[in-house]
Structure formats: C-alpha cells, structure tokens
C-alpha cells in the first residue's frame, strides 16, 4: 500500500518499517498532543533511566550513520571529544540545501518534537550542555513549527532546567540562517552561528568535535540522524540493527525527483533497497514518466557523480556505491529520461555550485565560475571543441588526478572509484566539476554535437600564405 499525504507534500508512505516517519500519517503530527499520544518522549524517559554512558553505548551499538552526507557513525563521533574539556555543545544541522535533498524539512515541519527529543538524548549521552538548532533561513514553516514545539516542550518540562524532574538540564536554542548553501558544511555552520560570514574552516587540524563553536568541543549532527534516536531508545539497538544490513542498519529517507511517474520522499530500508526498486518499484516511483527510457540519474545529491542504467541494481550501501564511482550523500536521487538535454542539465548544477562558492579558495572561486561560463557557451551553441578540453583542464585544477565516474558497458568504460583528490577546503569546488565531468564522460557525443569544431590552419597553409594560396 502506498499513499501520499496532502499535509506532507512529497511524502509517500508504504508498507515498510517507519523509524522517523511514523507520525506522518496524522495531519496534526506536529502537535505535542499527537506526539504524546504516539509514544512521544518515551525515548527520553528510557534514556534518563540509564546512566549517560550506557545511552552512548546503545547509540554506538546501533551504528547510526550520519544522514547529512558523510555517513559517519554518530556514536563514534560523540566519542571524539577531548577528555575533560567543558562545556561541549550540540549544533543541529537543519540547513538542508544540497540540490535534490528533501527530508530534513519534512522532519522539522511534520515531527518537530521527535527532533527535539533526539537532541535531548544526544545531549544527555554525550554530555553536551547547550544545543543550537540551526534551520535554513528560507524555511519559514519549519521555523514556526520548531519554535512552537520548543515553546510547548519548555512549558511541559521536557526542555530546560531539571528535565522531567531529573538532574539533566539543557537549553535548546532555535537559530536560523539567511541563505547560503555552504553554511551546511559543518565548520561554516559554526562560523555562521558565531555571527560571522559562513566560510568553512580548514580541517584538519581541528575537527569540530575537538574545537568547534567558541573553540569548544562541538558535535554537529544532521536532523535525520538525531530523529532516529527516540525510536532507538524505545526499541533498543538490536531492533535497530535488525533492519537493513550490518554496515548500513536502520532506514533512511530518500527523495526521488525528476522524470519519474511518482516523485516522492520515501523511508527505505538501508543497505538493501536498490536504485531499481526505487525508480521502478510500484511501492516507490513506479517507473519513468510516460514509460520513457532512463538516461541517467544522480544518486546522492547534486555533488555526486552520475549513474546510468548500468548501476540500477546497486543497493543503498556506501561500500558498493563508492567503488562504483559515486556516493550516497544526502539521500537525493534526480532522474533524467531519454528526452533530457544532458549538457543543459549539468549546467543547472554547475551554476548552483559556482554561485554558492564562498570565495575562500581560488580553484573553487575562479574554477567554478570558469566551468559555468564555458558550459553556458556550450549549451547556448557558441562553444568550440577546445571548450570541452578546457572544461576538463579547469576541473583538473580543482580535482587533480582521476575523477570518479561510473562504468558504462556501451562505452567500454570501467568505474573510477569515489572519492577524489581536491585542492579546495570543502566540497563545493569539486561539486561544481562533478556534473560536468560525469556528463562529459558518459555523454560526450551530446557535447560534441553542440560545439563547432575549429578548423586548425595547417602549417603548410601558413607557409604558403605569402603566395596567397592558402590550402
């Protein structure tokens, strides 16, 4: 059974385990009444009934992979803070803006109390004494829903001083941005939270867990990552790891957009669900629109190298998607059918990353702009064949060496595994190149058909030019 809910636009429910989307079926899922009526804050109670250390162990045992893009296990990250340095902070990354990504906004709008409960569990387990919940600036409704939920939770004694009458006290402060994609990068998020321009910090040497907000140990976690914790504390790590695979347990939210029959956000079983299931399965997208042919898809957000139908049978498992030449990233699939103008599609992504460069590193600031400008010429039909080489050359100054791409049987290409080398501080620079590189590698003929081939004047012609007989 699948159904879409008018009150949760984009979400498609199915007969699958629901760890983070269990309340989406209710149109009042965001209210404290509904939350309390559906086991709300029971995970917090379960956590507070144990010493903080055993809650941390439970999260470690469950291997809750970070859902923000990098897939680092939350329990391990919490353990990376230096001993005896206080205070430690929690910063919640609700800046969702990676092209194709749509899940954190749903979680904040539809189930804000679940996120709040997740934050409380993390703070308790890892000894974090203040929590800052950073929501993307453009998400007015998410800000309203989370503000309302926080006001309710404070009034009911779930947040603030002596939570549920215990010795556990923590404030959750709602913070919001003002429009800048790069602020989603964790060190830029911290800069922004300190009231600065949101430019990433160089790391190493310092990772936020050691030196973050105000120079203190800081855990940065994604909204979906934290939303997993209430269920985990209620049901235990064994129940959690019983879903999915050993290396990718639990579920994850995935948005599939573009040329499919039923675009949607799905909570899928991690590690086992394949791209084919998602794109063609009846309980997911139900196939390509108008029964067209699939041409290509972006498997993990705009930054990810592209896949073609050859990769459809890969599961949602990082250890298989990486060697195949891409990444799972933020759970965002963008689908292109055979009618797609590939160079133009690549341009929409390259333009995004070029615009969102913070300007700190030259290869990203200049290279991204060059890529955008050259690709624009090619798309508009005024480029030359030399432009195609130039795209690769500029890209190589951002990412020297082989850039990852998928295998392709028709082209006789074998995969170059993810990740890549880079000359920039963060992934915005390489992300401007990823779509260009994938499109140009997998669909070169479409670019060649678009550009004029420059006539190279043969050397003899130059030699003869004095005679006036250029040949």
């Amino acid at each position: 059974m699948t159904s879409t809910y008018a009150h949760a636009p984009g979400f498609v429910a199915g007969d699958r385990p629901k760890i983070v989307t269990s309340r989406f079926e209710f149109s009042d899922s965001y209210t404290i009444e509904r939350y309390l009526a559906t086991n709300g804050y029971a995970g917090l109670r379960a956590a507070l009934a144990q010493p903080a250390g055993s809650v941390h162990d439970e999260v470690k045992n469950a291997t809750v992979l970070g859902r923000g893009g990098a897939g680092f296990p939350a329990g391990t990250k919490w353990g990376l803070t230096p001993q005896e340095v206080w205070p430690r902070y929690l910063v919640v990354n609700g800046d969702e803006s990676e092209p194709g990504t749509y899940k954190d906004r749903l979680l904040m709008e539809r189930d804000p109390h679940q996120l709040i409960e997740g934050c409380l569990i993390a703070c308790y387990a890892a000894g974090l004494s203040r929590c800052f919940l950073y929501i993307r600036g453009e998400m007015a409704l998410a800000q309203e829903r989370v503000a309302t939920a926080l006001n309710e939770a404070y009034a009911a004694g779930y947040v603030g001083k002596n939570i549920l009458g215990s010795k556990f006290s923590v404030d959750i402060v709602l913070h919001w941005g003002a429009g800048a994609y790069v602020v989603g990068e964790e060190t830029a998020l911290i800069e922004s939270l300190e009231g600065n321009r949101g430019m990433p910090r160089l790391k190493p040497p310092f990772f936020p867990a050691a030196n973050g907000l105000y120079g203190q140990p800081t855990i940065v976690n994604n909204v979906e990552t934290l939303a997993n914790l209430p269920w985990l504390l209620c049901n235990g790590s064994e129940a959690y790891t019983a879903i999915g695979t050993k290396t990718s347990p639990g579920t994850r939210m995935v948005a599939v957009s573009g040329h499919v029959k039923r675009p949607g956000v799905f909570e899928i079983i991690n590690g086992v669900t394949t791209f084919r299931d998602l794109l063609y399965g009846e309980e997911f997208c139900g196939g390509i629109r108008n029964d067209n042919q699939l041409k290509a898809f972006v498997p993990g957000g705009g930054s990810a190298p592209w896949f073609t139908p050859d990769q459809l049978d890969l599961p949602f498992e990082a250890s298989q998607v990486g060697p195949a030449g891409s990444m799972l990233g933020s759970g965002a699939i963008m689908v292109m059918d055979h009618t797609t103008d590939i160079p133009a599609a690549a341009l929409t992504l390259t333009r995004f990353y070029a615009h969102e460069s913070c300007g700190k590193c030259t290869p990203c600031r200049e290279g991204g702009t060059w890529l955008e400008r050259i690709l624009t010429r090619v798309v508009e039909g005024t480029g030359t064949d030399a432009d195609l080489d130039q795209l690769i050359e500029v890209g190589s100054s951002i990412c020297p060496g082989d850039f990852p791409h998928a295998s392709n049987a028709d082209l006789g290409l074998s995969a170059v595994p993810f990740p890549y080398k880079m000359t920039t501080i963060c992934f915005v620079g390489p992300s401007a190149y990823a779509p260009v590189h994938s499109a140009l590698t997998l669909f070169r003929s479409e670019f060649e058909a678009r550009v004029t081939t420059r006539k190279r004047i043969p050397v003899t012609a130059v030699a003869n030019s004095t005679t006036g007989h250029a040949s």
Binding site: P9, G10, L48, A49, Q50, P51, A52, G53, E84, W86, P87, E96, S97, E98, P99, G100, D104, G127, S129, R130, R136, E138, M139, A140, E144, A147, T148, N151, Y154, G157, V159, G160, K161, I163, S166, K167, F168, S169, D171, V173, H175, W176, A178, L193, E194, G195, R197, Y214, S257, G258, P263, G264, V265, V298, G302, M334, A345, T348, L349, F352
Partner: protein, 204 residues
C-alpha cells in the same frame, strides 16, 4: 529608516541572552530589522552593532554574505522561482519566462508598483514537487504558468495577506524561553566542570 523600535530592542536583548557570546545573535537580529523595515537599513545595522558590541562594518560584513538580507527596499512580495536541477527538468525555465513576461520585468527587479520582486532561486528542498517557488518563503508546488497567473492575481488582490506576510516577516512564531525554565547561557570560559548528569548514575 531606522533604528530598532523599543519592542524590537526588547526582543533583541532576549535573543542575545540565549548565546554564550553576543555576536551569535547577529543573524537573528538582522532578520528582526528586516522584519521591521522590509529590508536591512543602514541605521539598523549601526544600532545592531551597538546592541551586540561589534562595529557596524562587522555587522555589514556578516549580513552581506547572506542572500536573504536586502539592503534596499524590495517588493512587498519576493517571488523566488527555483531553477536548480529537479525544477529545471520539470519546466522551471518556462515558468521563469512566463513570470518575466507576465510581470513585465526581468528576474532581479521589482514591478513599478512595488508589489513583486522576482528572483532566480536555488534548490528549495521541495524537489519532488517541482517546479516550485516561494513567495516570501512560503511554498507553492508543481506550478504551471496558469497557476502562476492565479497566484499573481491573488497577490495583487490582497487575497493572500493572511497566509503570506509582507517581505521581512519570516517565522510568525518566536521561541520564548520562560525565565524559570531556561538554563541560561554562560560564557564558555566560566565553565570547567563536567555536566552534573555525567556522574555515572541514571538521571531519573
């Protein structure tokens, strides 16, 4: 315009009080100024600098990094049409052309009556509902050119003023931490002990 009003000064102090360092309150207070005036006025930035304890140049330095802050008046409604991949695949370009034709302006400008400012926007985290747009950061999904015409008509007729406040007003609900419930913000250098609940025993 203008320095912050007394009511907004009170809200600004409340916000500042939530952070271990006052400068962290800069972006939320810049939003407050934009809510008051529809844009971030120069006098407001000077005033914010006083409240937060930094220089006006630092305030502008931060503010100018972020796309949502406008330093000149914009239309009552800011119409942001998403043009990133998923929306582009589903007809965003056509939608933008239609908007430009219908409003008689290019993206990046404001209608002569000051009602609508049209802008290109990037992915709005609603990709499954493409093509989409925001009016003062309120969503409209799966938009056709005809839907856009209706939307513009409704905005002009004032039919949507309950749902969509004027530019600058973001969330209509503010967080309020009751004095008796809040833990309070402490500068990090004043804390050097582990939190009370890390004593190896359960908290309840």
């Amino acid at each position: 315009m203008s320095r912050l009003t007394d009511a907004n000064i009170a809200i600004a102090y409340e916000i500042i009080g939530r952070y271990p360092r006052p400068k962290s309150a800069l972006i939320p207070i810049l939003h407050l100024a934009q809510e008051q005036d529809g844009y971030v006025a120069e006098d407001a930035m000077k005033h914010i600098a006083e409240l937060v304890g930094v220089t006006p140049a630092e305030v502008f330095g931060t503010a100018s990094f972020y796309e949502m802050f406008k330093f000149e008046p914009v239309g009552k409604y800011l119409l942001n049409i998403c043009g990133t991949m998923s929306c582009a695949l589903m007809g965003a370009e056509e939608l933008m052309h239609h908007a430009e034709k219908r409003l008689g302006i290019k993206a990046g400008s404001t209608t002569p009556d000051g009602l609508i400012t049209l802008e290109h926007a990037e992915c709005q985290a609603a990709c499954t509902e493409a093509p989409c747009l925001q009016v003062n950061y309120r969503y409209r999904f799966k938009m056709t050119p005809a839907d856009l015409d209706t939307l513009i008509d409704d905005l002009a007729a004032g039919k949507l003023s309950d749902e969509i406040p004027s530019h600058g007003v973001l969330a209509t609900v503010r967080q309020r931490i009751p004095a008796e419930r809040g833990v309070g913000a402490v500068a990090p250098e004043k804390v050097n002990e582990s939190p009370e609940w890390l004593d190896g025993k359960s908290a309840l």
